[in-house]
Symmetry: C2
Subunit: 364 residues, 2 copies
């Protein structure tokens, strides 16, 4: 029995065993350069016998790229959307031979800043960032100065020239309003998740992430087109914590002329509405209607199913990875703003007030 080397075999061990030089062994393993087929065979066999595996850290050092790989900074992947997005990105990266280093920022700008530094220090080949706020972007500029390719995911940031992949939430929300209107609804509640702001309020916060901006604008546009007046709208902006969303929903529901339908800008808010409605014995799709942004397994499985503005998460992820890798392979690509379409999936959470006009409010 041969003497066991304490640590893993290196290319030198392989070279020795195959009776060739390091360079030749490396060429044989890498399959490049001019090299005799027979030598390749010889080296490969030696490597197999030794159980040789290339040290990717050493390769990365030498080659100046880690294939560790596009990396993602996810704001909060407990959220059903980022959960799927993460998977899509990881899978897409893998299929291109890249691994993904993941960091969770919990929508915190300081964490985001620090995470980006760490990842750059680790010499990732490029970054996918879900910016936690549109207001701060000096750290993104730093990324670009470092020469690392950068792609923004799900949210635009003004003042930064970078390829950005988002969805058409403006149209999606607008379509939701139209759908509700067509079903006979005339009093709209709008529950807006405004991460990074405190508490809850009817006042629009100064700064919001672009996707939420788009949803707000889509809502307003839809209302304007259909002649839904401000007094028919009840807005509520709300931080995503354990307390405020419930209070916000209660305020929406407890008005003299409560909305017949509530639009929520994400799943977390939708769940709070569901919970509050349940506690009050309000039946969804009958006593109160709901449309939310982002599809999920449970939205489809519930009875009634929740009507949603679905976004193409998997496509978002794979396109993001492709754009990032394109920039890695050939730096200097033109920054693109890619906007993917949304789709309204009508299920049972919107009451049909047209068929039951007695439910329709007479006066607004």
């Amino acid at each position: 029995m041969a003497i066991q080397k304490s640590s893993a075999p290196t290319i030198i061990d392989v070279a020795e065993r195959a009776g060739v030089s390091r360079a030749t062994a490396s060429r044989a393993m890498g399959g490049y350069g001019r090299i005799a087929a027979q030598t390749v065979e010889q080296v490969r066999r030696a490597a197999a016998e030794l159980g040789y595996r290339p040290n990717e850290v050493a390769r990365a050092m030498r080659q100046g790229r880690t294939r560790t790989i596009g990396l993602v900074i996810i704001a909060d992947f407990t959220n059903a959307f980022f959960d799927r997005a993460t998977k899509a990105i990881v899978d897409a990266a893998k299929s291109h031979g890249y691994q993904v280093l993941i960091t969770n920022t919990d929508e915190d700008i300081a964490a985001e800043r620090q995470a980006i530094e760490t990842l750059i220090d680790k010499q990732v080949d490029g970054l996918i960032v879900v910016p936690s706020t549109a207001a701060v972007h000096d750290h993104l500029a730093t990324v670009q100065k470092s020469g690392k390719p950068l792609v923004l995911f799900d949210r635009r940031v003004d003042g930064i020239v970078a390829t950005t992949i988002t969805t058409d939430d403006f149209s999606g929300t607008e379509a939701a309003v139209r759908h509700a209107y067509a079903m006979g609804h005339r009093r709209f509640g709008f529950l807006v998740a405004a991460a990074g702001n405190y508490g809850h309020s009817t006042e629009r916060p100064a700064v919001m992430i672009s996707s939420v901006e788009d949803r707000i604008n889509g809502f307003m546009s839809g209302c304007a087109d259909l002649g839904i007046k401000p007094k028919q709208q009840s807005w509520m902006f709300c931080e995503d914590n354990a307390r405020d969303p419930e209070i916000a929903v209660a305020k929406l529901l407890d008005q003299p002329k409560a909305p017949t339908i509530i639009l929520t800008t994400n799943n977390d808010m939708a769940l709070v509405l569901l919970k509050t409605a349940g506690n009050r014995r309000l039946v969804i799709g009958k006593d109160i209607s709901l449309i939310t942004v982002d599809d999920s397994q449970w939205a489809a499985a519930m009875a009634p199913g929740i009507t949603v503005v679905a976004r193409p998460v998997e496509d978002l992820g794979s396109i993001t990875v492709e754009k990032l890798l394109a920039e890695i392979d050939a730096p200097g690509q033109k920054a693109e703003k890619i906007v993917l379409p949304t789709e309204l999936i009508a299920r049972g959470s919107v009451a049909n007030l047209v068929m039951y006009p007695e439910n329709e409010p007479e006066n607004y």
Copy 2:
């Protein structure tokens, strides 16, 4: 304006600017060895002026550890449980200064094998693996031979001596059976997600992951204790794909003496039951009852809330990371089997047949 170096500054640049040697610069940055406070100051300033950031790949190469760090191989993190687990692990790792490389195996053993190789090649300091099957473990033995610390997450694998963190699903499922029995249920459906098997069947597959084994044994034990006879039990084993679970649920429901309650071994199966019940206008917690393993936001938010066997995911994650890092810092730790307790959270998805005895089946 100074001439811009094309690539990032290195420790050599810092040393030059501070007028010291590389070693001194390194010591100043690393804050180790004997070094004058004034020199440290000088070097730090030079580094800051240059915007110097240490190249972690080079450090990893030199030090033989990457701090890239504990890495996770998650079976399927679209599942609500692994989603939260991933976040818990990433956060715990970060708090210890480690980053996480994530790979998704989709419960596929070939993918798992390949992912492990890739991660070892990348010189991670340790591995957290959610084994996709209990039947195959040669690749895990390979990990151990490589000398990399290994911790198994959520599932035991016989034949491998490694620290394993799981939950007490046996007791959890048993408690679920007791709860249902106490609520007056006497006919039990049991819908078992059996990943890695094909289609659906009433026959128990030969090999299953340990957590599912435990749930099955817990179910049987509970039934045995309470005198629930086999004819009062309807079992269904089912692959988690788009078609079979629905068929399996239908078979459960369409029997002459259908169960009054169905236990599902995970969220995916619970969602299918929810969907099928909805389609049939069966009201959960009234026409059909449900308990599932794993809590989730939607299980709590729905009306009625779903009664669940909750598992302490966050603790699972942080303990797993701690055990892994302990082994990294001091190899040769004794392998432990850590089992965390589960908790039955009773909500509204289990009908109380005791209060409405007219619903109780007379004969079994």
